[in-house]
Symmetry: C2
Subunit: 191 residues, 2 copies
């Protein structure tokens, strides 16, 4: 995670960078503990800054969320890269679905936050999720070519489906195992 704010534009002032990093770190903890709805004022407080500082660095909750997810998203991108080279395209898709659903449980409320952000291309969270959605497109495409999946399945539908399963699992307080059962139900169909 950390210090990617310096990458674009003029670098932040040293103290500003310190605050930025601290906020992201604290936010990650808070989201993990309280879900994506955690109080932003509280995060600011715990990071030792005023609300104004937090809101200047992260004008919206989604911006902060995207920053806090940095690590997890990078990890997911790596998985996607690995899976597009996996010999068995069908198995790759299965693994991708499970992995994606699991990552959507990083924070409580994450499926909701992401689904909402997806509707708004200007949301930084939407931008951060590009690798994810792109990953689905590629992996699904390969699975279709291999005949492991019906040709009329759309990537956007699949993404929505995975998100909704993660959402359902969270609502029910499901274990990972229960989530996987739900996934299997969908991939294999009801009949």
């Amino acid at each position: 995670m950390s210090t990617d704010a310096a990458t674009l534009k003029r670098p932040l002032r040293a103290d500003a960078q310190r605050n930025y990093d601290k906020i992201v770190q604290v936010a990650a903890e808070a989201f993990a503990e309280k879900g994506t709805g955690a109080s932003l004022d509280d995060i600011a407080c715990r990071a030792g800054v005023g609300p104004g500082t937090l809101y200047r660095h992260f004008p919206t909750r989604d911006a902060l969320l995207a920053a806090a997810l940095g690590d997890a998203l990078a990890e997911l991108s790596a998985t996607a890269r690995r899976l597009v080279s996996e010999p068995d395209a069908g198995a790759a898709l299965d693994e991708w679905i499970v992995e994606l659903a699991r990552h959507l449980r990083t924070y409580g409320g994450l499926p909701d936050s992401i689904a909402t952000a997806m509707q708004d291309p200007s949301s930084p969270l939407c931008t951060s999720c590009q690798p994810m959605t792109k990953g689905t497109v590629k992996i699904l495409e390969r699975a279709k070519e291999a005949g492991a999946v019906r040709a009329d399945v759309q990537a956007s539908d699949l993404n929505a489906l995975i998100g909704s399963l993660a959402w359902a699992a969270e609502q029910r307080g499901d274990s990972d195992a229960a989530l996987q059962r739900l996934i299997r139900l969908v991939t294999e169909g009801l009949r």
Copy 2:
């Protein structure tokens, strides 16, 4: 809708009954317009009563939601009753799934509200939804007997699945047609 408050316990005083009915009516409008998260104080105001009055009649948002849904739920129960007598058990299940998903879109945020309520048996909304969940159990059972559905599909999973599809459709601002495409994807399976 209306006047079912008088059915149990000593009847409400005339003015109280009037307020009760007015609140439910206004609430239904507000939920339809703003989703299940509509401001309760605002509903009270629009109904011409103070917040205290609203909260005495409906101690929780879910209680009000359950009352506002009265009509829709009755309608759904009727559908369930019809479908358990439908000759083609498989077709009955398909119709039930579509109907249930459609009803979950009555108000924005309804899948969320109901999924949460389901976790809490003491919630009036949970109680109101009994006919719905029971309906799924019966209709699914028949479909299994007819061999139209795999025997290892659980009613609780199916209900969760339907809710999650309705949720996804709402998030994406889907049309009814798009929702049905998503449903077909699940019932038929990905391969």
